[in-house]
């Protein structure tokens, strides 16, 4: 089962930001965040959880916590 801290480590590796990341972090506030990184994160998350994620729902998320909620729902 994916824990929040695992998710934060994945995001940290993918985005490689100096910013400290936590559940409340809003993606838009991370300096390195852009559409390309959003897509890079998406594919890597799909591989990590081993099942398809809805792109539509992913694009609606604002914070790391939202993404965690999306990955752990169902």
């Amino acid at each position: 089962m994916l824990e929040l801290e695992d998710l934060i480590e994945i995001i940290d590796t993918v985005i490689d930001s100096e910013t400290t990341l936590e559940a409340e972090t809003v993606f838009e506030t991370i300096p390195e965040w852009d559409s390309v990184n959003a897509m890079r994160l998406f594919t890597q998350l799909e591989k990590e959880v081993g099942k398809p994620i809805s792109m539509k729902a992913y694009l609606k998320t604002k914070t790391i916590g939202d993404v965690f909620g999306l990955l752990t729902s169902e």
Partner: protein, 642 residues
């Protein structure tokens, strides 16, 4: 170690990259990564490190290369894979990625960012949208048929412009149609025609590139054979305009790395092969020639197939050698008498079949054939032997085979270690030449003095201006030669062509032969001719190169002597020589001063030497090597003007 841990290590190590050994150990972590996601992450983590960072602790460990990437879709990820693959091989790529769907503009505008970037390699990645964007949404076969010519013409016109503007190598991929497009056409007659039209398009693209001196086509269909590899990920295609799947982009990056390898002179030249359980199954010393597994059974066929592929490599110029713990009579017997042995005794340029440690044998082979350790691939099935070689000779590439011979061929070939742009006549006969070299070494032991030996060889050297026959080989020499390469400028055939066509340059190739046979074209001198304000003529030897096969015979002295003689005939007042140090050419730091040149200037990157002509230096140069018979440059000049 898990891939995650390699990534953690890389992230930590990048902060201390200026410490000794750190950049190499980062290279090792990168080389251990296998899955696509990790490769992308690693390449991204290292995106801000420059060639200076990588070489901060140890100079010249990493070689720089500039790669421009243009595409009709979003393929920014290619750069991260490329960085991971290249850094694992000691290559540091600087990458420019053009904006989305800017490839046409980048090719056609002579002032584009691509051209300003001055790439060494341009990678143009294209997918089916080059057709689809010209088609109505409800296209039928006849629409596809009528657009295909205009797409081809536009594309090749843009490439024409590129080749006129830029001498950097251009790599483009063949176009693949996705299965949804194919399935949308429901009758098989039309499907067949669609397949044919697409393949005709690709065939024309390939034919066009065959005519280009510095173009390469990557066959996308071949890359799609790897498992598991899909053409695209529909979700990414729809939401991100990323029309190729990540594994396919990684595969394209891997091909680009192979291209970078040969452009930087990192092509492997020599295979060092174990015998038992590598070239056949079982131990010949125990089982005897008839008892080994080779041919005649499925497993034996796999070993025979591996030998056949090695022989194919050998025919293309890869030097084969043996390094086996065996009694030589046993291994000899296999190559001489086993009916399923594709490899014969005469295929090996050097053999170390003995009970010495294998790393010492590799050292012996390297000295014997004068091939650098970093151009050798050692192939063995034993963990112990592979670890020893890794430990004692870290610059040798080690291929540790598994116990499943059916995978040997793929393991040997997938990295493209031996790839090159174009083979020359020289390559096809290289094996013979190295064998002759072995014979020379044996001959040498018969003579008391080196001079007697050299006289006995009856060496003849002939100089000639570069022409269409010699240019491919000249370009190859600039790419392969590392030791006697005084300024290490790698060149493509097209670049050599440009210089040889210019009246301001002399590109002189030299061939060598002796009683053991011809060595073919073994070296080249690049001379730039300038006039100063007093109309005095000067020669600048911008680079001089010679294959290591013909070292220690004074050939370089004879060639320089003839250049000097020619300069005096042409009323040249001064000859300048240039030397730029690299990790490999330090042996020749004093080449010019040993030949009577005076050192003028040294700025860390380049040392300039000068020789005043008319100082009658040439007699002494040629008289230093009385055993060499060499033709004059004047005669070739006349014959070429006639």
């Amino acid at each position: 170690m898990e891939e995650k841990n390699h990534l953690r290590q890389l992230k930590a190590l990048r902060k201390t990259i200026d410490q000794p050994g750190v950049s190499q150990s980062m290279g090792k972590h990168l080389a251990s990564l296998e899955n696509t996601t990790s490769l992308a992450k690693a390449g991204y983590l290292l995106r801000n490190l420059t060639i200076e960072d990588w070489n901060r602790a140890e100079a010249n460990t990493f070689k720089p290369i500039k790669v421009g990437i243009i595409s009709n879709f979003v393929c920014d990820e290619v750069q991260h894979y490329l960085r991971s693959f290249c850094l694992a091989e000691g290559i540091c790529p600087e990458v420019y990625v053009a904006d989305y769907n800017q490839y046409m503009w980048q090719l056609l505008d002579s002032d584009s960012e691509l051209y300003e970037f001055l790439p060494t390699i341009t990678l143009c990645v294209l997918d089916e949208h080059i057709f689809l964007e010209k088609l109505p949404v409800d296209w039928m076969l006849k629409d596809f048929e009528s657009c295909i010519d205009s797409v081809f013409n536009e594309l090749t016109q843009a490439f024409d412009h590129y080749f006129r503007n830029c001498s950097a190598l251009l790599a483009v991929n063949t176009i693949v149609l996705s299965i949804d497009r194919y399935n949308a056409i429901i009758d098989y007659r039309s499907k067949m025609k669609l397949s044919r039209l697409l393949r005709t398009f690709n065939a024309r693209l390939l034919a066009y590139f065959e005519e280009q001196k510095s173009g390469i086509v990557i066959d996308t269909d071949m890359l799609l054979q790897a498992e598991p590899l899909a053409l695209r990920d529909v979700k990414m295609s729809v939401y991100a305009k990323m029309h190729f799947s990540e594994p396919l982009m990684a595969a394209i990056a891997r091909e680009t790395k192979k291209i970078a390898q040969f452009l930087l002179g990192k092509t492997k030249k020599c295979l060092v092969l174990d015998c038992d359980n590598t070239l056949w199954g079982g131990v010949v010393g125990d089982a005897g020639v008839d008892g080994i597994i080779l041919g005649a059974s499925p497993e034996g066929e796999a070993f025979a197939g591996f030998q056949a592929v090695i022989r194919q490599l050998s025919k293309q110029g890869v030097i084969l050698t043996l390094n086996s713990k065996n009694n030589p009579e046993n291994t000899d017997a296999v190559f001489k008498t086993h009916k399923d042995a594709a490899l014969k005794l005469t295929d090996f340029a050097s053999q170390c079949v003995n009970w010495e440690p294998k790393h010492l044998n590799i050292k012996t082979i390297s000295d014997h054939l004068n091939i650098g350790l970093d151009h050798m691939v050692f192939v063995d099935d034993s963990d112990f032997e592979c670890d020893m070689v890794n430990k004692f000779l870290p610059s040798v590439t080690v291929l540790k085979l598994s116990s499943t011979p059916e995978h040997h061929v793929q393991r040997l070939l997938s990295q493209g270690w031996f790839n090159t742009h174009e083979l020359t006549e020289e390559d096809y006969s290289r094996g013979e030449k190295y064998k002759a070299e072995s014979a020379r070494k044996q001959e040498q032991s018969k003579y008391q003095s080196v001079d007697d030996y050299l006289h006995s060889l009856a060496i003849r050297v002939s100089l000639s201006l570069a022409d269409s026959f010699s240019i491919p080989r000249i370009a190859q020499i600039t790419q392969r030669t590392n030791q006697f390469n005084l300024s290490t400028q790698r060149m493509t055939e097209q670049e050599v062509h440009q210089l040889s066509d210019s009246k301001d340059w002399l590109v002189i190739a030299f061939e060598a032969e002796d009683k053991f046979g011809s060595s073919g074209i073994v070296g080249v001198v690049f001379i730039e001719i300038t006039l100063d304000k007093n109309l005095d003529k000067h020669f600048h030897i911008r680079n001089m190169l010679m294959s290591c096969r013909v070292f220690s015979r004074g050939i370089e002295t004879a060639v320089l002597g003839k250049v000097e003689e020619y300069a005096r005939d042409q009323a040249v007042s001064t000859i300048y020589g240039y030397f730029s140090p690299t990790a490999k050419n330090h042996k020749f730091t004093n080449f010019y001063s040993k030949h009577g040149f005076q050192e003028l200037d040294e700025n860390g990157k380049e040392t300039v030497f000068k020789l005043q002509c008319g100082e009658k230096n040439q007699e002494t140069l040629l008289s230093r090597v009385p055993w060499i018979d060499i033709n004059s440059l004047t005669t070739i000049e006349e014959s070429c003007c006639a």
